[in-house]
Symmetry: C3
Subunit: 260 residues, 3 copies
């Protein structure tokens, strides 16, 4: 049985993560589920795309990646499964854009034939209607992820799609020199789309020049610094501070590498 | 061995969830523990009761449901186990009120004979006293849940109680037309006690009439809408907003269905 | 295989916890990982030291305790493994000070020979550099913890160190009468270094005398009270309030037991 790596913006104030795990267990008894992150900022697709990119190289080949950050739930956005060296299950909203730079999908399927889990072992309540238009993590994505974890045929999930037609966010990872701010982490560090951070050089953002060092501890407290982050992307920080606020940074702002 | 589904308001800023899991493993080696939610609002029994209701239909028959939201810890409130198609372990404070609408208990036991876990493999400290009056999740509920997960006789936990004598919150789920606001989710959506949301109708709350639709995306941003939530209860939301704040809603406020 | 008990300040807004678990699984397939806490206040070593102290007596002998609260990552602080009745893996920054009062290390090793995990099953990106100076949880501590979970020889991790040379925080747990405020929990209750709470006595802090009771519910709402907490240490609380704010308490403030 393949393991499921599960990422969402469900938070832990509600039982949604637990319900999805219960459905996975119901459909694929004994399946191993590893939580990647569940307190992602709600509906933030760039942040989720980055989280999947950062995790991906450490997920085993064959893993099922279940990702639910889904601002369009209840609208006609598609629910999909895509198969590369790993399997991907989630909404067709660009969430996997950066992960697929590392592991491009070769096949894709529309999740059209996936029966939702039915309540079991409960007394009927008058008027009660199971199912939902708002919780596809439980009703559609978890059953599809369980199906793939069991190694069953993806054709059973629904009609085949062209992997080229899957939605991507307009994000390009690049050695530079031009890039942009991709997202922020919870400390307010900016993650950029730049795939390198040449020591001794500079990065220009919002009219400032910020020195590139090996790590943020190499500048005095309160000063801005850029370095190669743990995902292999250039990051911009303020030592012991919040770069997003201190430098007025925003998603999508252009950044530019300058050689030293 | 039966699986344990674990819900609490312990949060993840402290090691309490991990300690409870360590005790479960100590008493029932190899037991599978699934987290339902641990960042529930502290001591909010209505919210916890709703979380258990939402999760319950997806938990397997035979599961052990361990729930610790316990404002009365250290007072004479009872600690109990109840047996329906699943087993329930927690304080006797009404926490399971809504879950038991779906899976009524047929037997119940007072947790009186459950020995607390003792520290193991540690050097003694001068004056140190193990055990507590404040952490029954570790000292009483986890050992009882492990006992039931192992399939051992519930009679060993303590004297039998009448399931009718267990405490319930004064909450009635109903097809309507009269109901009330049960609780809120973390986005400020109101969950009501109404078991239906007839399309084309209205729900009245606090002097307003709110239209019932299939999902919240069917009204413009900033407008109020009601729909059938993923638990099968009518919910009141503001599209891309916080209904609790925007509409001044409160727990227990009356709601009323109006046909379209 | 030994189980890994994992504590960090990584939070759940980023995928770091999940990535560490993926690396543990890659290096020690099938290893059981139990989360102790991941939303600890960032870089708060006293809080982390207390969390490990509170959990330790319930962790099985032989367990691998992986703890990553690491303000000095990227500086020359040492990465270490220490062996007592359990194995400890983390930065050499005092994090384990209180845990080692209960389970003193008999041997210790510098994590010098631990190969970082390499990205697997991914397409190369131009300029991309794996590895990091900022994520030793993934690159150094997880591989070392997996090594010990497998029961492999600790000598392979790097040169042996004297356990006496490992860093400790200047914290002494004591029956009293003199102690200090060790840290706070998320409710603002103060945890002290005092190993007893004699009923009928008083504790003096910041010029106030606070009565010692069995539990916080034994004083009226809004009043200060001290009691023996679930870790076996005297705690100071305000019933239904926040003692840290209401009483102006701070880490390191002296506390003194007065007999009744």
């Amino acid at each position: 049985m393949r393991s499921v790596y599960f990422l969402s913006d469900f938070g832990l104030e509600d039982p949604y993560v637990g319900v999805v795990k219960a459905v996975l267990e119901q459909r694929a008894p004994g399946v191993k589920v590893v939580d990647l992150a569940h307190a992602l900022p709600p509906q933030d697709l760039r942040r989720a795309a980055f989280a999947l990119f950062e995790a991906l190289p450490y997920l085993p080949e064959g893993a099922v990646v279940l990702a639910v950050v889904d601002p369009g739930v209840g609208t006609p956005r598609r629910a999909i499964a895509a198969l590369g060296r790993r399997a991907y299950v989630g909404p067709d909203n660009g969430l996997f854009t950066l992960a697929w730079r590392l592991d491009p999908p070769r096949r894709a399927f529309l999740l059209q034939e996936v029966p939702p889990p039915l309540p079991q072992g409960v007394d009927p309540l008058p008027g009660w209607t199971p199912g939902s238009h708002t919780f596809h993590g439980r009703d559609r994505f978890a059953p599809a992820a369980a199906h793939l974890a069991l190694g069953l045929a993806p054709e059973a999930l629904g009609p085949e799609l062209s992997p080229q037609d899957l939605l991507r966010l307009p994000l390009a990872l690049t050695p530079g020199p031009e890039g942009e701010i991709l997202t922020f982490d919870r400390f307010g560090n900016a993650i950029t789309t730049l795939l390198q951070a040449p020591l001794g050089g500079w990065v220009e953002v919002g009219g400032r020049r910020i020195p590139i060092r090996r790590t943020f501890g190499e500048v005095p407290e309160g000063e801005a610094v850029a370095y190669l982050g743990s995902a292999g992307l250039l990051e911009i920080a303020v030592n012991r501070g919040n770069a997003r606020e201190a430098l007025g940074l925003k998603e999508g702002m252009p950044v530019r590498l300058l050689r030293g």
